[in-house]
């Protein structure tokens, strides 16, 4: 019937349009790839820029120091690149952890129904009700100052989101006709869960997790900005901005401007990739 055929035709159209090249996604991949490559290569070649007084303090951007130097006489570009490693790795780690834990809890909640589900739902309600940044601050304050602890805090803050998404999608899939068909074909509950429900509901949390990566980078930077992320002299974008606030207000804008720009570029790339995946996978 028309609905079905038009839909398929349209989808075919869209997919081919995406394949031909979604310019935004191409740019996003390029930006992310560049930052990541530089983040891996630059510290190898030029060091991670954590030596104080290597150069004069607060030199404005120039050919030698494309992003200038900070008050400690360190090269801001080198530090931005060293930070890229930490920030992107953390963003991805958080996304993966949130994706795995969130989908698992969500799927379990959807599968076991009633009691478990009610408990999980209330628990996510409660977690959602907590102010994210403050929750993360408290958790990091409790665990100690370490980027991985901050990452754990961010993971906890995002899990309810993914649990809900995974659960609702799993519920949606569970009531689909092809699940009924599989049951009639003789599939066990476990087989249905692993062969049908999971593969078909997973892509939504998966798409969402790219966005989570972007939010995680922002949140992690916020935590570092508030002083609970990394320890000096390790470079991290949020911490670099925090270090540069004073200089910025007093006229040296570069030590805090460029890390923020890096955050913006990275987070935006993840967002664009997320949107693109979303359209591609649906």
């Amino acid at each position: 019937m028309a609905v079905v055929d038009a839909g398929a035709a349209l989808r075919g159209n869209l997919v081919s349009r995406l394949r031909v090249g979604n310019p935004a996604a191409v740019v996003a991949f390029a930006v992310l790839g560049t930052i990541l490559t530089l983040g891996i290569v630059v510290p190898f070649v030029a060091g991670s820029g954590d030596v104080a007084q290597e150069y004069d303090g607060l030199l404005p951007p120039s050919f030698d120091h494309p992003f200038g130097t900070d008050r400690f006489g360190r090269d801001v570009f080198l530090r931005c690149m060293a930070a890229a490693r930490i920030d992107i790795a953390l963003g991805l780690a958080v996304a993966v952890a949130v994706l795995l834990v969130g989908s698992l809890i969500g799927a379990v909640s959807a599968t076991f129904g009633r009691g478990v589900d009610a408990v999980v739902m209330r628990a996510t309600d409660v977690l959602l009700a907590f102010p994210g940044v403050v929750l993360a601050l408290v958790i990091t304050a409790s665990l100690g100052k370490n980027p991985w602890y901050a990452a754990i805090a961010v993971v906890i803050a995002f899990i309810p989101l993914l649990v809900r998404l995974a659960r609702s999608k799993a519920l949606e899939v569970r009531s689909a006709d092809y699940i009924a068909a599989a049951r009639l074909s003789g599939a066990s509950t476990w087989q249905i869960a692993t062969r049908h429900v999971l593969p078909n509901s997973f892509k939504y949390p998966f798409v969402q997790s790219t966005l989570v990566a972007s939010w995680a980078i922002l949140d992690f930077a916020a935590l570092s900005f508030l002083g609970v992320g990394v320890q000096p002299p390790d470079a991290e974008w949020g911490a670099m901005i925090a270090e540069g606030v004073g200089d910025n207000l007093l006229g040296s804008w570069w030590p805090s401007f460029f890390p923020g720009l890096m955050i913006l570029l990275t987070a935006a790339s993840f967002q664009v990739i997320g949107d693109w995946l979303d359209r591609r996978l649906r």
Partner: protein, 340 residues
């Protein structure tokens, strides 16, 4: 209807209880000895012990928990270690500042979100839409503290468009008489437009920053809902009668796309209230509860921090419960009272 009301209230209550319990245990994790902080750096061990006893910190965790829950039901949030004042009073005296900032930001977020969302939907798949999408990506990828810093250096210090971030009123203005606690409103009530204007100018920059950064999710929702509505069968019906474009946009498009905004407002309120607020208040020396929470955390002020987390948690639950009601009331499809 009554049954669902009861159910929603029940769910809200359970959530609030959960918030209270979780808050206790999370703050329990905090390192350090609040009593030592309270007694001060120069206090002797005996004095610290006294303080510990005074705040009940010498009791077992279960006993502390029982005490805490009892206090919670009496709406007693304890006494701040730092200032020796009841936390509830400290929060309520700072709440209007946060509310004024938060509500203005929310208003900006909603107006901007709906405006841009509708614009994008009307120009869907064309350049206008693309531009809005770019805005959405940039705004949702911008770190609030960074853009605030950039804004302060350029807009305040560079060009002097906004007043210097020294609180809620620039120098030379006295707070208006307390009615709502919102300076702009109170000043207008008191017939003092000059103060209202000054308060607004001070408020505007932090509120704009928060509002703009909170708007992308609303833009996205409004855009897709409006597109769905404009491409819906009923919009086609309207077009088949030749209704003017405006009528179709408002009656068929906007009317239907505002519904999902209501649910989203809860999330945005969460961001504005808690996430961005702590940082923005910090950067703008805004005397609200966010800044209070941050310094409480710095000073390990256990009770103040607990009070704050509970206040935000409860506010969040209440906002969302109210929104659910509003949603049920606005959307005829979920309005059970009217079901045939």
């Amino acid at each position: 209807m009554l049954r669902t009301t009861g159910k929603r209230a029940g769910v809200a209550l359970v959530s609030i209880l959960g918030v209270a319990v979780l808050t206790f245990f999370i703050t329990q994790l905090l390192p350090g000895d609040p009593a030592r902080i309270a007694a001060g750096q120069y206090a002797s061990e005996e004095q610290v012990a006294d303080v510990r006893a005074k705040y009940g910190l010498d009791q077992s965790v279960p006993a502390q928990f029982a005490q805490y829950m009892g206090d919670f039901f009496r709406m007693d949030l304890g006494t701040s270690i730092r200032t020796d004042q009841p936390v509830r009073d400290e929060l309520t005296s700072r709440l209007p500042a946060t509310l004024e900032l938060g509500l203005t930001a929310l208003l900006i977020a909603v107006l901007l979100g709906v405006g841009l969302g509708v614009t994008a939907a009307v120009h869907r798949y064309r350049i206008g839409d693309r531009l809005v999408q770019v805005f959405v990506v940039l705004a949702s990828a911008t770190a609030v503290f960074w853009i605030a810093l950039v804004a302060i250096t350029t807009l305040v210090n560079g060009w002097g468009i906004f007043t210097s971030p020294t609180g809620r009123l620039p120098r030379g203005f006295a707070p208006p008489e307390h009615v709502t606690g919102l300076y702009v409103v109170d000043a207008l009530l008191a017939g003092d437009p000059a103060t209202a204007g000054a308060a607004l100018r001070t408020l505007l920059l932090p509120a704009l920053l928060l509002g703009v950064l909170a708007s992308p999710s609303i833009v996205k929702i409004v855009r897709s809902a409006t597109i769905r509505a404009l491409e819906s069968d009923f919009a086609r019906t309207s077009r088949s009668f030749g209704y003017p474009a405006r009528s179709i946009l408002f009656q068929d498009g906007l009317r239907n796309s505002l519904l999902p905004v209501i649910t989203n407002v809860g999330l945005v309120a969460g961001f504005v209230l808690a996430g961005g607020d702590v940082i923005i208040e910090q950067l703008f020396a805004w005397p609200g509860i966010g800044g209070y929470a941050y310094s409480s955390l710095q000073e390990n002020d256990l009770f103040a921090l607990r009070g704050y987390v509970i206040a935000i948690g409860v506010a969040y639950v209440l906002i969302n419960t109210v929104l659910e009601f509003v949603y049920g009331w606005v959307d005829p499809r979920v309005n059970l009272a009217e079901g045939s």
